[in-house]
Amino acid sequence: MQTTAAVPNVLSIENLTIALPAGADRRYAVRHISFDVAPGKVVCLVGESGSGKSVIASAVMGLLPEEVKPQAGSIKLQGTELVGASADKLRSLRGTSMAMVFQEPMTALNPVMTCGAQVDEMLARHVNMAPAQRKARILEIFRHVKLPDPDRVFSSYPHQLSGGQRQRIVIAIALILKPALLICDEPTTALDVTTQAEILKLILELQNENGTAVLFITHDFGVVAEIADEVVVLQLGDMVEKGPKLDVLTRPQEAYTKMLLKAVPELGAPQRPPLGNAVPLLDVRNLSKTYKTGSWPGKRRIVQAAKDISLSIRPGETLGIVGESGSGKSTVARCIARLIDPTSGDIISGEHSFAHLGVKHLSALRRLVQVIFQDPYRSLNPRQTVGASIIEGPINFGIPRDQAWARAEELMTLVRLSPDALRRYPSEFSGGQRQRISIARALACEPKILIADEAVSALDVSVQAQILDLLADIQQRLSIGILFITHDLRVASQICDRVIVMSQGEVVEQGEIKDVFFAPQHAYTKTLLAAAPGQGFSFAGAV
């Protein structure tokens, strides 16, 4: 980045160290961080969860929680020192010189204020303009961020807009005063891939237009590949590596960076053991589910979450279901596991049909099908030891306690945890470890089919890679069928034999990975694939 040395940096951070209060998981949130952001450039901060990315962003904005304090170093915004600046000073800089876009578009906006009013606050606070002028200006920026029907949006409340639209509002707020620095803290993580692609495009466009400097935080290397000029890699608060995008992504110097890159799954058909023409373990035919919510005297609402879904799973096969949020993936999974009652259709295994059996007669299905859920923090009962959770199923099926316990110890080894861990509580484990425990719990019932509902989506790439690997290993050994639900096409392509693409409760396309992902037929599948960030980058291959 020698070429830009002549232009003064918009943001320059030097040797920044931020201490954490006593009792936190480590002493420093970040240590010895130094990097610059030049005008018109995008600097990406990457790192696993907890590496200190957000803390840096908050420090720049002056929005650190009271108990977290910068201890050393400096943050200069267009030459103004921000460390130790007064609250008033920071407040006047916020919005005008620096602005921020946050991760959660769903919660970043005040739910009881209209969108227009929330943008207007920015103008009312910082510039002297008549209300009518302000409104004109807001409508203009709404058009600029490509919000449809700006007039309606102006008087809408956040909940009346989609996630992508809300994020556009947040961006409009951030950019309306053309700040010199824009900080984006995982602005697209919560969005669907297609929306994510649009938002990223928008940010780049606006940045180019105004020459804004952008500090972009993400843990998704696809996004990094898409957007960054420079990359800063963090590990547990330490700066591990920094440099221009291509250097870092294709010629990483540090082992940690290499490890991270290697863990990023690739979009490509992997080598999977061939499947015989075995009899399906489970046949799902024309499954539909309609939710009816609201009870008298409230209003009734009807959602048709799954329509006419048919699928089958064979031993040793991994069937993926992909689709955007709300497309009905989880609904299908829950119906198959009979955690909810399907409205119509059939679930057949051997000569049994399970779709409409009463809850008391589901034992056979319970033995056949087990589920692993997305959120590792909530899928284990916090008040039960891990061991008690694991042996619960076997005991329910009539296996003596000792035997169940012995089996649990074996399973712990299988999922690469120490058998001692059985006596501990879930809160003593990290997210990845908990997910392994969930797998062990599911396996304890010796199921033939494992349903993994977004089982790796909440995890860091490195941990995600471990779990995927573990699943593949187990499948190979036990020859079970896996129904793998994900929204991440890269992950799906890594682990599945076949995929089903769902949209709005319906199957739009299904088939082998190589067909669906590399020769998609349906328009929806095509958009989905086109929107995946970082195409053309082969991260693991770089190492």
Partner: protein, 313 residues
């Protein structure tokens, strides 16, 4: 909107039927005989039997209940056993003092408690917060009659600023009305301030941890605006909900406060009616209070529509 209102009102009917049934059974299954009470000290057993028959107390319970409900459906709540007056008339006489006391209390509470709660939430953990929470726990812990007696002793007897008892009608004399209500309203509002301040603090403190507060701060708006326009506006629902639930507390407090300050309101009427076993009166008052409670909470529910644009029934 109108349909909604009607539906919600209709939905309260089963609740009120249950209230009516509970109250009726409670009264009839209890020992104690209004007839004995009416007859007085020098009456005899024969007198009691005569009065029982006159009041219809010898009929079977279902008969008595259908009788009562039947008349209720026609809007007739019956006549007091003692005072030959319609219970509706008796209740009507007592509404004004109770409503005045409650409204004044509510006013004091809202004016005092909400700013305090917001301030405490803002300086979460600071001295203001601690003092306020200390006060609020204390407010919950001192029986209101003790507070009432101390108030009378200090402000009415010692300093002579306020009357010790009684009530003046609003229409007769506004200042007299206010003069008579200041002490009771303050007494009654203490526990209520404690409650609302606490809830406000908790709700605002929680709102302050929300992402949109960070967004607001990132815009550089002033702290006061962050507190009022963003945090308090979003905390309004729990606060209003508790104000609604607090009506039950308020009614309980009214009974005690009216006794201490000899305010001729519904609270006193209740105690009187219970102590004299005036069944029709007890039934009517309880039903009346229940209707008030249900209606206020209906109002609270409806207020969500205004306070939170996300709420749709």
């Amino acid at each position: 909107m109108l349909v909604l209102l009607v539906r919600r009102i209709v939905a309260t009917v089963p609740v009120l039927v249950i209230v009516a049934l509970i109250v009726f059974l409670m009264l009839r299954l209890a020992p104690g005989d209004p007839a004995a009470m009416i007859v007085g000290n020098s009456g005899t057993s024969a007198d009691i039997a005569r009065v029982r028959a006159e009041l219809g107390l010898n009929d079977s319970l279902p008969v008595q209940f259908t009788h009562w409900v039947g008349r209720l459906a026609q809007g007739d709540l019956g006549e007091s056993y003692f005072m030959k007056m319609k219970v509706t008339h008796l209740i009507a006489q007592r509404i004004e003092p109770t409503v005045s006391l409650s409204l004044l209390t509510l006013l004091i509470t809202i004016v005092v408690a909400i700013p305090l709660g917001v301030a405490a939430a803002w300086r979460h953990g600071g001295w203001l917060d601690r003092t306020l929470m200390g006060f609020s726990v204390l407010g919950f812990s001192i029986p209101s009659f003790v507070i009432g007696y101390l108030m009378i002793w200090a402000f009415a007897l010692h300093w002579n600023w306020f009357p010790t008892q009684g009530y003046t009608r609003f229409s007769d004399d506004f200042w007299g009305w206010l003069h008579h209500l200041v002490l009771p309203a303050i007494t009654l509002s203490i526990i209520y301030v404690a409650l609302i301040a606490r809830v406000t603090r908790a709700a605002v403190a929680e709102a302050l941890t929300e992402d949109y507060i960070r967004t607001a701060r990132a815009k550089g708006v002033s702290e006061l605006r962050v507190l009022m326009r963003h945090a308090l506006a979003n905390a309004a629902i729990p606060i209003v909900t508790v104000i609604g639930i607090g009506v039950a507390l308020l009614i309980g407090g009214v009974v005690v406060t009216e006794t201490v300050f000899a305010i001729p309101g519904l609270g006193q009427l209740t105690v009187d009616a219970v102590l004299s076993r005036d069944f029709p009166l007890i039934q009517a008052i309880t039903l009346f209070f229940s209707v008030i409670y249900v209606m206020i909470n209906l109002l609270v529910d409806l207020s969500y529509l205004v306070l939170d644009p996300r709420v749709r029934y």
